[in-house]
Amino acid sequence: MSQALDDRSESIRMIRDSAGAVAPRGGDTKRVRAQRFVAPGFSREVFAEMASLGWIGLAVPEAAGGAGLGMSEAVALTEVLGAGLVPEPLIPAMLSARLLAASDDKALLDSGKVVLTAWQEKADSIAAPGTGDAPRVFIPYAGGADVFLLPVREGNRIALVSLDATGADVVLEKTMDGGFVGTLRADLSRASRIADDIGAVLEHALDEAALATAGQMLGLMEKAFELTLGYLKTRQQFGRIIGTFQSLQHRAADLKIHIALTRAAVETAAAVLDDGATGAVRQAAVSKAKHRATESGMFVLRQCIQLHGGIGYTDEYDVGLYLRRGMVIMNQYGSAALHRRRFMALAPEDVE
């Protein structure tokens, strides 16, 4: 496992470096702030750049038109983009890429179009029942989609259809971080079938998306904590640098531990998936990572606000942006409770 990680260290480093193209190193949030509540909530240019960097099909095998990398690279990437508060819907697009690679419409993978999969029928879920006429909910940045993919159940199998987003019935809601989520009521008569049996691929893709989201949360934690440490080292009260107050020092130590636990859980899970794990082993690794990222992530983000005091509660100061993004992603692809239950339902021998 760790050997595998060592072997990949070069490609991971390269991915991290290339992410700088989209997530400025200095942590400049000007673009991100300007994008807020401006439909569709992200930049199509930046998304196109991501596509051209090969990120959308990052984990898709080269034979199927992807970059042939793995989840270790994917979580490294989503971590950097998380730290940069990048709004573009990369993780949903990566999920769609997985499906497209297994479909009859592989051309769509390289089209540069924004392809979003409308898989979700209720809140806090990681399963796609594929109910044909069910409204599909919580589609991130649905207003920016060019094409929707919909899993549709047919007996024991789940087929995949694609639907042009133009003219689709999409209702948008604003999210805390300045983005949007949408509900799609699809007219399936307008859709084209592009795969017959996508169920297993979709399960796999949802697990990958959950893990990539855990990586994104790790990035939020790291960056918010970095800002907080900087604040603790400079802000003065009572004639002292507040970072000299032991109660704040010890809290910072606890946050560091939670970040380290999250990194270990996320990177271990990525290595497990890159080892080719399937079924219960894959689910256990993913649930463990997503559970940790959500629980520890929100703990860290909350405390970063607290450690900033009043200024942390202002929109003007960056640390709050991380909390608000955290709220949006914390339960995407399953809440901590969902993943805890899923983990506990697996046989111990699969988990360890």
Partner: protein, 390 residues
């Protein structure tokens, strides 16, 4: 001759039996409070608040704690508690109440006859809406480090500096201000209390957008603002003790279980909506929070009993603020945990104001920061209550 302001409310309500008084208050509130403003998700602005404010003023109930001699309701501590309980029970919005709870008591205790005669009636009739100029960018938790200064020039003070976290300053036409009047004195000394007309040239108010995308707080800039010297309250350079005394009101107010209790009812509604209400694990979490809330109520009750007996509260009242605000946060943390992707929505779910986990969550964040952060409260407890050194 002492000041005398006729109270609007002719009846001495202290003479009523407690339960009759409670019913009396409750009935009037229910008949008069605008239904659409019950339990508002955000702090209301003056424009939204003022019809109710003027209704209270008209009734003579705006200042329940002020002595009748000064135009207040003159309620006994026990009756004031009932009055507050009914206001909170009904979910009435907090009004722009700094004039009522801060400036009024300040002037009644420390003001000159002239100050009392000038300002108290205008608070009572709603003409003056006050804001509190305490915190500064580098004097938050360490309030005594404030640097906004007032220099006497003839019969006017010239004020320069900046205040921050000034609640609803954009709604106020007057401000009570802590300023440094002696730069050479020790930190807590050399601070004075000034009353400032917000229309005075040189004052700029800049709202701060907060995590709710709301503008409850403001920055207020003072650039050579000239304030009549007669607007200084009490003894020059002795404002710090008065300011601290006024803050004791805030500590019991911030320790009231009402925010937690309100959030708690909404947690149940959310759990029902999300379909987790019947789950044993949720019931266990809910049970823990509920028992915390009930025990907070019991503890709060012991402090209220002291007020009812006319005792003053000690530093141990900080316990309430710490536990209440952290409970409020834990309740709203739980909301997000069960809300699924709704944990990321900007607006209430399905347009239902009662299903507003994100609003409640964000509102709960500053509770542990303002009014003296919980770190400060724990310092107070350890030093002033437990007698721990240094």
């Amino acid at each position: 001759m002492a000041v005398s302001i006729a109270p609007k409310e002719a009846t001495d309500l202290n003479a009523m039996e407690d339960e009759a008084f409670r019913t009396h208050v409750r009935t009037w509130i229910e008949a008069n409070y605008p239904a659409e403003l019950r339990n508002p998700p955000k702090r209301l602005h003056w424009e939204e608040n003022k019809p109710w404010y003027f209704q209270l003023a008209e009734k003579g109930w705006l200042c329940p704690g002020w002595p009748r001699q000064f135009g207040g309701l003159g309620l006994s501590p026990a009756k004031q508690i009932i009055f507050t309980e009914e206001i909170e029970r009904h979910g009435c919005a907090r009004t722009n109440d700094h004039g009522i709870v801060m400036v009024g008591p300040l002037l009644i205790n420390h003001g000159t006859d002239a100050q009392q005669q000038e300002f108290l009636p205008k608070i009572l009739n709603g003409e003056h809406v006050w804001c509190q100029g305490y915190s500064e960018p580098n004097a938050g938790s360490d309030l005594a480090a404030l640097r906004t200064e007032a220099v006497l020039d003839g019969d006017e003070y010239v004020v320069n500096g900046q205040k921050i976290w000034t609640t609803l300053a954009s709604d106020a036409n007057w401000c009570f201000l802590l300023v440094r009047t002696d730069k050479n004195a020790k930190k807590q000394e050399g601070i004075s209390f000034l009353l400032v007309d917000m229309a005075t040239p040189g004052i700029t108010v800049k709202p701060i957008i907060n995590l709710e995308y709301h503008d409850e707080f403001c920055e207020v800039f003072f650039d050579n603002v000239r304030v009549p010297a007669k607007n200084l309250v009490g003894t020059p350079n002795r404002g710090w003790d008065m300011a601290k005394a006024l803050l004791s009101f805030e500590r019991i107010y911030l320790g009231s279980p009402r925010l937690s209790a309100y959030a708690f009812t909404r947690l149940r509604q959310l759990a029902e909506r999300m379909g987790v209400w019947e789950e044993a694990t949720f019931q266990d979490t809910y049970g823990r929070l509920r028992l915390d809330l009930e025990d907070l109520k019991s503890l709060y009750g012991t402090f209220v009993d002291k007020l009812r007996r006319g005792e003053t509260l000690g530093a141990d009242v900080s316990m309430l603020k710490v536990f209440q605000t952290e409970l409020f946060q834990r309740i709203t943390d739980t909301m997000l945990e069960i809300a699924g992707e709704n944990a990321g929505l900007l607006e209430p779910m399905e347009g239902n104001r009662n299903l507003n986990p994100t609003g409640q969550y964000i509102q709960a964040r500053p509770a542990t920061i303002y009014g003296g952060s919980n770190e400060i409260q724990r310092n107070i407890l350890s030093k002033n209550v437990l007698g721990l050194p240094g």
